[in-house]
């Protein structure tokens, strides 16, 4: 017969609580991700469309472009670097779908959606920052992608699918 003393019982109780928290939390979070992930992302996308329209009306076109020469401005008195970034990641559900799809290959729409949003958002931020800082045009715009926030452990990289987009260009006035 084993005798269960006070500390042993406490330890067992603690372990049971810990395991049940994890056993409950992860499935619940996964279901939450499935139900609300798409909703959350599309609400951000709608907000982005409104902002894009507003800036287009304000500027009368686009104030950022990739040419190295100004289009509208004749005389430049000042210039400076304009830089914006965003970090995006697919939801748990999208990651799961992506992993299943990557078995068969082909287009993975669940990642596609997030990355498209990230690029559009970073460009919009560049436009807004240029307006806020008073630049009349942003020339030579470049968009870069980096995976800086990943742990490299046992050959498995980028587990969460976190990506950073950086957009930068030269603001002129």
């Amino acid at each position: 017969m084993y005798e269960v003393d006070g500390t042993g019982a406490l330890l067992v109780l603690f372990l049971i609580v810990l395991v049940s928290i994890f056993a409950l939390f992860f499935p619940l979070a996964f279901i939450y991700s499935m139900l609300f992930g798409g909703l959350h992302q599309s609400s951000h996308q709608k907000k982005l469309l409104v902002r894009e329209k507003r800036v287009a009306q304000l500027v009368g076109g686009d104030n950022v472009h990739t040419l190295s020469r100004p289009i509208n401005l004749e005389k430049i008195s000042q210039c400076g670097l304009v830089m914006t970034n965003i970090t995006v990641a697919p939801s748990w559900w999208q990651l799961f779908i992506g992993q299943i799809k990557s078995i068969f290959g082909g287009q993975i729409q669940s990642y596609d959606k997030v990355l498209t949003y990230g690029r559009a958002e970073v460009m919009q931020r560049l436009r807004e920052q240029a307006l806020g800082e008073g630049w009349s045009e942003v020339i030579n715009v470049r968009v870069e992608t980096s995976m800086v926030m990943n742990k490299v452990k046992g050959g498995q990289q980028n587990k969460l699918g976190t990506l950073e987009f950086v957009a930068y260009g030269t603001g002129i006035r």
Partner: protein, 105 residues
């Protein structure tokens, strides 16, 4: 003045003073990491990382401009950024460009 174009339109480069560089290594806070992991459930933007990386990149850019100023330049042209993962979640952000003296044409 900083620019990522080779020349600044309307300005003339009179002297080149070499490559100005600036870098910073940042690691993420473990609390932020956990919070970002939770935010990751629904996907989309991870604001904590965005802010962290922006802060780091601004610092690298600031150091590059300090380097340029020490060389006696009044502008840094052709600025480029590079990022690399160093180890276990730490990232190096590196900015470099050509320190020059420019004059208005």
């Amino acid at each position: 003045m900083t620019s990522n174009t080779e020349t600044i339109p309307g300005f003339k480069i009179t002297k080149s003073l070499g490559v100005a560089t600036g870098s910073t290594v940042r690691a993420k806070h473990i609390g932020k990491d956990i919070l970002a992991g939770l935010k990751n459930i629904v996907g989309g933007e991870l604001k904590a990382y965005t802010e962290l990386l922006m802060e780091a990149r601004t610092e690298a850019l600031g150091r590059m401009m300090m380097d340029g100023a020490q060389r006696g330049a009044n502008a840094v042209v052709n600025v480029r950024f590079a990022t690399s993962s160093v180890a276990g979640g730490a990232a190096e952000l590196f900015a470099y460009g050509t320190a020059v003296i420019v004059e208005q044409e």
